[in-house]
Symmetry: C2
Subunit: 452 residues, 2 copies
């Protein structure tokens, strides 16, 4: 292999600094997931194809990575068959497994498969990579992590309240102030479609409405008309195009608009409960806002819909989202299991923290101190000292070879190691601070304290 | 889908308890990897096929999971071609990516690809899953984690000394006392083959010798004879079949046996340096032993070879292994980069800790306290209290629905939640210890302290 090695497009190598930053975010998520009673599970990277296929629509099926059967996978395909077969037919004969596309379907499969071992309501979190054969572009990868918290088996709206608090807790600890947690409800959207006489066009209606901040009022109206929604209906939804005010004001407007829709009123009541309690309990750093245009995966959600926007001024799409789906596990044969959950977009959160300089410096400080290598005669004494420092959990290295001192110093600098021990003499250590240039001679106890 | 869902053979779901136990082991590894100056990297789950194929021998190629190209992968294969093609030829046309088989080859690829950004010597650790289409059996999976620490770009034998210490540090903190870290050296094996006149049969010789504890002295001799090693040679290696004594005694015996082999003597010197320094620095809980039959992936290693055996009495194969390879990155065009590394067998370590009851109880205690749900009127007060406990990092839940009290208690018991708050009245909390049955009425400050 003469050419420089590379990795598949849409995938990434993560350097030590990048892994450390990612792990910093993940550790904070974990802490709060667990404070809120969510427990970790993990599922296999690949599932049986029939677990995944048909769960994400036609587009999703296309984007799922399929794994070739091992051994002679053509064994059972006759050469006559091969002449006329198309690739989709062939796939089902030569591939039985596929890489997971998200964490929700595997979670539903897990719940059904392990239902007898699980205590419901089951609050689980899962932080694992997923794979999609999407066209790679800025911020979109073929391998990326999802960080999900879901609860299944409870219809209590306190779950929604807690999920808003959970978002707030994680972003507050990350130092990411000013995120907006947008909330809506599928029943509101259904109710609107109902009162404007477009129930049969619910999807078209909401897909168009969802584009309001991208294509503006006129664009949305044009699209709705094209989809066969009447001029009369558009007049009725006019209030939604300038839907401002406090949450309470918005809820009151919706009450009026939806007064004739049973489902719509149910949605208003749910929103009222969630927003009231979030408001009374208080958020640390985030703002909750009601956004009637929010639809996300509408076919999926049946109640609350969430989406998190980065602080104003940061050009980044949503950094999280979620919602309630009344029949999470039905696809695998377990009926009447309501689920509600949220997801954190690790990659985007990383980009936002990086852009705003919010990663603490300590995150990327790996090794704290490096001992110069003066050759074999002194190395043993160095190693004895290092051993003691490591017991005290101080990240310590000796430069492994007796290279030129200059080279050793440069190595420490480039690695970002803040301290170097230059000399050991009569039990005293000459410790140099690489950043300030300051140099002191100290005994072991002071050395250890300085580095702690 | 009517049938109960399942997962592909050789893969596993991990329950909350299992994930917690695995994360406990991984966290301890991470701490020590970093104390020793190793930095984390991560590489993509799949690599370009040409990065992996041909690196693990024919058997390895067969066990690599290949990923089907997306879209119409048959587009460029004519139907005439399909009639005569065999599956291996077809694979190269319809699959360009494959799941990684280990962490070493991706690491080598990473080093070469990022050589301009890396400061050498480069000490990296990597904890990620790998995939092999092996026949699943007890303790062998198709998806499993590898936990590797390697340093590349230094020939210093202090690295080997440190890797022995690193094994010891991790197993000591895991409470796994009495592991044996076995060490050997490829140069010793080459030297022996040389002095018995079987240099051309080095592989056959070491493969047979490696089986000593499985098939015994007679079995090994029989296999060696079958492979064409002479009776005379067998007489010369006789001392190896009862190779007992202290490390120092063994090294002295090897010095005599290998006196005529330059390579053999070099191996003896290396062993001497490593064992001497490990011994002088001292190990916490593990024992170092010289095992001349140890070969492992011989074609790979060029210097030290390591393997870790579980404590006596635990029936488990090796729980770790590694060694030095002088030309780690040569396969990707970067010459003269010596590497040495070790791997921890997460799954087996897990099984050993489980068998010996070494997981601390706290590892599996998720939620610390659950508040009973008495219906909407009291829920808000409960949620206010819970919010304060969570800020203090106490893992807290409210049972989400106003179910029967009995049901709520059973849920807490089954979940292993140790405390339940039964009642809130005038700012006092009735706290019940589920295990002891003890019940106290306390104010918030005492509640918080008790749960901390």
């Amino acid at each position: 292999m003469a050419s420089k090695p590379s990795i598949p497009k849409g995938t990434r190598d993560f350097s030590p600094v990048e892994v450390s930053k990612r792990n910093y975010i993940i550790a904070i998520m974990r802490t709060h997931f667990e404070n809120y009673g969510y427990q970790p599970i993990e599922t296999p990277s690949f599932e049986n194809s029939d677990t995944l296929m048909g769960k994400y629509g036609e587009e999703g099926d296309r984007l799922i990575f399929k794994i070739l059967n091992n051994g002679d996978y053509l064994d059972k395909v006759s050469s006559e068959e091969l002449q006329t077969i198309n690739y989709k037919q062939l796939t089902s004969k030569i591939s039985e497994k596929a890489l997971r596309y998200d964490l929700t379907v595997p979670f539903a499969r897990y719940v059904v498969q392990h239902q007898s071992e699980i205590e419901f309501p089951f609050k689980r979190y899962q932080i694992q990579p997923v794979w999609r054969a999407d066209r790679p572009q800025k911020g979109r990868f073929r391998e990326f992590y999802q960080c999900d918290a879901d609860v299944v088996g409870s219809t209590s709206l306190w779950q929604e309240v807690e999920l808003v608090q959970l978002y707030d807790a994680v972003f507050a600890e990350l130092g990411l102030y000013g995120v907006t947690i947008k909330i809506n409800n599928r029943k509101i959207l259904s109710g609107i479609a109902e009162v404007i006489g477009a129930s049969d066009k619910l999807i078209d209606f909401t897909v168009a409405l969802d584009k309001l901040d991208k294509i503006g009022e006129d664009g949305v109206k044009k699209e709705m008309l094209e989809k066969g929604i009447s001029e009369e209906a558009l007049v009725k939804v006019q209030p939604l195009f300038n839907f401002t005010g406090t949450i309470q004001e918005k809820i009151e407007k919706l009450s009026v608009l939806l007064s004739s829709s049973e489902e719509g009123i149910k949605g208003v009541e749910e929103l009222q409960f969630i927003c009231d309690n979030v408001s009374k309990l208080g958020l640390q750093k985030a703002t909750l806002d009601l956004d009637v245009t929010l639809a996300r995966g509408l076919n999926y959600y049946t109640g609350a819909i969430f989406e998190v926007a980065a602080p104003e001024g940061v050009a980044m799409g949503s950094i999280g989202g979620g919602g309630r789906y009344d029949d999470l596990t039905g696809i695998f044969g377990l009926k009447n299991m309501s689920g509600v959950g949220i997801s954190f977009g690790l990659d985007r959160i990383y980009l936002v923290l990086d852009e705003l300089g919010l990663f603490p410096e300590t995150v990327t400080t790996a090794t704290k101190v490096m001992f110069l290598n003066f050759g074999e005669t002194q190395s043993f004494e160095v190693m004895q000292t290092i051993q003691k420092l490591r017991v005290a959990n101080i990240k310590t290295e000796m430069y492994p070879d007796a290279a030129k001192i200059d080279k050793q110093f440069k190595y420490a600098e480039r690695r970002g190691i803040p301290f170097v021990v230059k000399e050991i003499s009569n039990g005293l250590f000459t410790l140099k601070n690489i950043i300030s240039g300051e140099q002191v001679q100290v005994d072991f106890s002071t050395l250890s304290k300085t580095l702690k």
